[in-house]
Every structure is written in C-alpha cells, then in structure tokens.
Symmetry: C2
Subunit: 304 residues, 2 copies
C-alpha cells in the first residue's frame, strides 16, 4: 500500500438520507477507493464520510464528492447545530501507513487549487496545510460561519480565500481543505462513579492544561440503563507518534491509583493506525528491536 | 487480501549460494508473489524460502521452485546435518489473514498430486494435510531419510507415497507436502543467569510435558561477547489462536516471580500474524469489543 491516504470530508447535510447516499456512491465508485465509514447526524445536520486510496484516487473521489454536494446542498437553506462554512464544509487529508504528513500537505494545496478553479469555490487551507498561521485552527477559519464569510469575503482581506473567487459559491458557500495526522479516539473507564476523579485525571493529562503533548482529554460520567454509573477519561490522541496509547494508559493508571481507584477497561472508538496498536504490543512485552514490519499481513500489504 | 497463503519450502542446498539464488528468483518472478525471507545454512546444507500470494500464485511459484530444485540438486551428492528426504525436502502451506487452515489442506493435496505427476516425484502428505495418521508428524515421514526411502519405497507398503511413483526421483528423491498454522518464534529473557530456572519454566509451560496447548519451549543460556549471560525461555507458538503470546508471557511472568526473578525483555523472531500481535494490545489494555478490523491498514488491506 504505498502512498496510502485517508480523506474525511464533512458535508452540511444530515437529514436527507438520499443526499448522503448519493455522495457516498459518488466516492465509492472511484476505482481503488475504499469507503471505510460514513455517519449522519440529524441534530448537527451534518455527515462524515471516511475513505482511503492512493493520492490520485482520493483526489478523484473527493472531487466527485464536492461536485455532487454543490448540486444537492444549498447553504442558504441549511440550518444545524454544528458550525459550518459550506456544503462540503471541511476536507482533511490524513497520512496512512508509510505516507508522510508532508505528502498530505502538498496534496491538500494542489487539490484546493484545483477545486477552487473547477467549481468557482473559495478554498481556505487549514491545519498543517495552512498558508497563513491564523488559519491553522479550523475554528478560526469557521468564525461567523457561512453567513459571515458570504458577507465579508469580498471586502475584508482577512477573509480572502487562499484559492478561488472573492465571493461564495452560489449554493455551496466555501470549503476548508487541510492535512492532519490520524486521530485516535480512546477511552479509559475507571472503577469509580466519581466524575470528579475522571475530570481531575483528564485535566492532568491534556496538553491544553500542561499535560502530555498532542493529547486532548475530558472526564465524563457514563450512565447506561441497567449498568452502574462509571467515570470515564475520554481522549483524542492527535499525534500518536508524539504521545501513544501506551504512554497515556500508563499515566492514567498511575493517576488512578493515586486517586484510590484503577482502570477497569479501555475502549478504542472506530479505527486506529495499526502502528499505534502495535506500539502497545511492544510496550506491554518490553520487546526489543521490534518493527511493525514483523506483522505479516502488514508487511505484505506494504510490499504488494 | 482475500485467500492469502504463505508457503515455506525447504531445499537441500545451503552451500552453493548461486543455486539458492536461482530458486529464489524462480519464485519471485511469479506475478503477485512476494518473497518475504530466505535463509541459507551451510552446516545443515539447507535453505528456507518464505513467500506469499493467492492460492493460484503460490502454487505456480512452488511448482517453479520444485522444477528448478530438481534440475540443480542431486540427492546422491547431498550431505548435511539436517534430516531430509529430497531436493525439495518439505513444502508447507500456511493460512494468512482470513484464510482457513482447511483451504491450505485442500491446496496441499491438490498441489501434491500435480507435482507428483508432472515431475514423477513421490509425495508424502504430512501435518494437517496428512491422509494417514502416522504421517502427521514430519519426523515420522522423514525416518531413515532419503537413503531409507530410496531403498524401501518400492517394497515396503508403509513407505508408499500418497502420490507419485514407487521409486524416488532420479536426482530429487521425494518430498513432504503439508499444511500447518503460522508459527510464532518468541523468546523471553530472564533477569538471571541460572539456566536451571529457564529450563524449569520451559518445562512447566510446554505442551509435551503437560503445560499449555500448542506451546513448544526450551530453556537456553544466552552468552554474547561483552554481555552478562542471560537465561532465556525460548518458545514456538504453533497455534496462537489456542495459546497466544499474552497468555504465555503472563504465565512465564508468574513462574519467574515464583522463582525469584522476572522477565527482563522479550524478542519476536521473524514475522508473526498481525492478529496475534493485536491480541497482546487488547490484553494489555483490557480492551472490550476490540476487533482487528479496527486496525486501519489491516482493514484496508482486507477490503482492497
């Protein structure tokens, strides 16, 4: 699987199922592209599709998806709980396997330029692909949402897109295109019903309050019918090569013990890079000289 | 990677490097086949090639390898420390990924019949592919080696091959063809130089002395120049779905503690099925509802 790339576009449509199905179909019919997942949220009025392929394949599929979304979604009609700037709201490219983030940065910029000219669509580059530092954070690009961009794009230089016209697309608004590393959603359930303990541990480990690099964390209380309530430390690991699963679990295990409790079990939500999971294997066994190339099917997938 | 199969033929040539290279080349030039490894041993006068592909691809490559070996190796001239019955001594087929062992059993039998007729080569089916229970163990098939089979094959019904003529091949002798599960070579190094401790633990865990199913183990003393000597429990896990790495490590850890020592670190030798490694991840984290399908690249390799 040389040069494998994941793409996770978000669309401003979560209520009309047939529209989402049409977009997913446009992506899935591109030769070589695998659709890994798609979810639809009615409250947010928003959908997320996850697919993967080579650089050329994901570009073809993402272009097809943008084309369909601009035909099917009208931003002047769109209402939803989630912030958004366009029919295709955000398109991140994510490196898989041996692919480097730099390849995704290049790809995002080339793709952004292409769709801007093809669809007359304003494109803002964000994340690792941002050309302006103030556009690194997606929340900053989205400030004021579609309506603010529509009203300011022609007059406020700060809102000028990186590519495309100084006016929003007739129906589709604008789009944020970027590159980011794969994200791991990973939860640790504690043997306590004290939310305060989970919050205290989450605060200690998250980067934003001085904890571990590239870790986002919050404490929540799980209340499932028929089950005793359980405090959970819920994390996103946004760069597992900086802080991996094993490091987070070992630290939370230590903090839980200090708080007089322990980890009951863990949950991995959705997909994670195989390398991040094999790192846990190597850590648990104290393996010396281990390489992910020793995983048979992974090695074969790379070589074939 | 649907229907992926590994093949690990052993050849009775470990001294003439150019002969081994020719055989490896014959395998590697088959479309779709990946050569994962090859090793050559002068003392054993024997070589092992590891390759993988679809059923049709590995059959094509194994047939090419048999053809080359029968041209290049003469059993009447062969001497070496390792028991052997032919120029191609043994050809096991191993299921990878989602492939089932039953597919490899079928494949070994069909392949055995084909090469027997094509090359006039006596074929003994062994392992899971054996048609006679007394041929399950390779050591039993090999008893007396090439010379005994050459002398007895025409007259002793117990030595009659499963396929092929009642005489050895002019140059190549005979071959054992079989099916087995993937094997994991895994070592645990103890924080002690007492060989007796490693032997005691190995004896406690190995199946042959009443230990864990599908585990082979021995105690050895590692003596590397410039390093303190270290006792090692060296294992082969011959069916990791029955007894996996985590179960073995947890048991050895417990026994080591009982003996007043502990595991210093572990070593994985060569390749292992990714599923066996991810099982360690799930065990170490106490993951609930974990599936190897959550490993991104693995999931993609399966779907593509």
């Amino acid at each position: 699987m040389p040069g494998l790339i994941e793409c996770v576009p978000n669309f401003s449509e979560g209520r009309r199922g047939e529209v989402v199905e049409e977009i997913v179909r446009a992506i899935g019919q591109i030769e070589g592209v695998t659709v890994l997942d798609h979810t639809r949220d009615e409250t947010h009025n928003r959908s997320v599709v996850t697919f993967a392929g080579s650089a050329a394949q994901v570009v073809r599929a993402a272009t097809a998806a943008v084309g369909r979304a601009l035909e099917l979604i009208d931003m002047e009609q769109h209402r939803g709980a989630h912030p958004r700037i366009g029919a295709v709201d955000v398109i991140p490219f994510v490196p898989l396997g041996d692919t480097r983030i730099e390849e995704c940065v290049d790809l995002a910029r080339r793709f952004g330029e292409q769709i801007a000219s093809r669809f007359e669509l304003p494109v803002y580059l964000y994340g690792e692909a941002a050309l302006r530092p103030e556009r690194k954070r997606l929340a900053d690009v989205r400030r004021g949402q579609y309506e603010a961009i529509r009203d300011e794009i022609g007059t406020n230089p700060k809102r000028a897109p990186d590519f495309g016209p100084l006016r929003v697309h007739t129906r589709g608004g604008a789009v944020a295109v970027g590159a980011r590393k794969p994200l791991i959603a990973f939860n640790m359930n504690l043997r306590t019903d004290e939310l305060a303990t989970a919050i205290k541990i989450a605060t200690a480990i998250r980067e934003s309050s001085g904890g571990m690099p590239a870790v986002q964390a919050m404490g929540v209380l799980l209340e499932n019918p028929g089950m005793p309530p359980m405090a959970q430390v819920s994390t996103n690991l946004v760069d597992w090569e900086r802080t991996g699963i094993a490091a987070v679990v070992n630290e939370v295990r230590r903090l839980a013990r200090e708080a007089g409790t322990e980890i009951d079990h863990c949950e991995l939500i959705g997909l994670a890079p195989t390398g991040a999971l094999l790192d846990v294997t190597a850590d648990a066994l104290g393996l010396t000289d281990f390489s992910a190339d020793q995983a048979l099917e992974l090695r074969l997938a790379r070589d074939r």
